[in-house]
Symmetry: C2
Subunit: 201 residues, 2 copies
């Protein structure tokens, strides 16, 4: 005995979402039956649009519905500053903080030789050409503080060694409000190495 085909299909689709197992998918499918018609229409339409309308910005790789994303379209931002991030989510995060006024560039993944992802696989040429052709003064690397992130950051900074571009990296250290005993030793080591004199602040 199974649910009717439509519900089985919904369960199967919900299971494709990250972290969703059989039970939760079943709960979602049954809850879907109680959604309003307009939510169903919007949901169904948006799913289709996710394949047809959403594309990558020609300039920065951000997600957008036009050729160029809203941030790249905005010419009142500081075009000396470029922040390199891993994914569109990071752009939203930085924009929520709201104090960065430069542009972004999203790279397609991080260098990870163990997973067979080499520098040429993540299209760094587009990034380097953009930096060189647009008179960018400072590149801020804001990728994940992991081995892959560090490798990628290092590689990008090497590619820009012969230019006048300043390459910086967002600071790593102890997050505010954290108990020091819960911080891992590598972070603690970094926090110690990157200590600042109090009068510097």
């Amino acid at each position: 005995m199974k649910y009717p085909q439509t519900i089985q299909n919904l369960i199967e689709c919900y299971r494709k979402l990250p972290g969703i197992g059989e039970k939760t998918a079943e709960r979602f499918a049954l809850a879907t039956l109680n959604l309003n018609q307009d939510v169903i229409d919007l949901f169904s339409e948006s799913l289709k649009n996710s394949k047809t309308k959403i594309r990558k910005c020609d300039i920065c790789n951000n997600l957008c519905e036009d050729d160029i994303c809203d941030i790249c379209k905005n010419d009142s931002r500081d075009n000396n500053l470029l922040c390199v991030v891993e994914d569109p989510k990071s752009v939203i995060l930085f924009e929520k903080i709201g104090n960065f006024n430069g542009y972004y560039h999203i790279i397609n993944g991080l260098i990870s030789p163990l997973d067979g992802i080499n520098p040429e696989d993540i299209d760094l040429d587009k990034l380097i050409n953009r930096i060189k052709n647009n008179n960018i003064k400072e590149v801020i690397l804001a990728v994940k503080p992991s081995i892959e992130g560090e490798t990628t950051s290092l590689y990008i900074s090497k590619l820009l060694k012969d230019t006048d571009v300043v390459v910086s990296k967002i600071a790593h250290g102890i997050p505010l409000g954290t108990e020091i005993d819960y911080v891992d030793s590598l972070t603690l080591e970094l926090a110690m190495d990157n200590r600042k004199k109090i009068e510097d602040e």
Copy 2:
């Protein structure tokens, strides 16, 4: 700064699912972008079908795509036995166990005077008529063991008092594999009251 409209819409729709907040909905929406075209098509189509194709079985209220559900269509089951459950999920659960061979009837909710749900709101007439007109010998009540469930069970058994129908209730007690100290006192009390002589089993 927000995501493109399509992604915003997806986030909004995913948030309508039970237990899904802003962050998870965002993760789902971004993950949706990576789904295959055929999954997207199936998902979108199934959502629409959930409104147009899925209906309640004319006989037992189970979810189905025809007038009558697969279980009610199956005339090889035992038509003396009727199991009364709360929702279509319960039917699937009992069918998975597979040792009940009668028919089911799904009531539309439980009697709950505090929430303003009275006996007339859950269409018990359909159930009672079905029992009386179909020569059913035993009605097994398998609803949630809560105050509402108990009230509803009691009410149904009263409606059938003047008939020859045997009304039974699934057993409550300590679930197998549970430590006794984790079981609530009401369940423990029920388990004690409903004790069975070992030779009975």
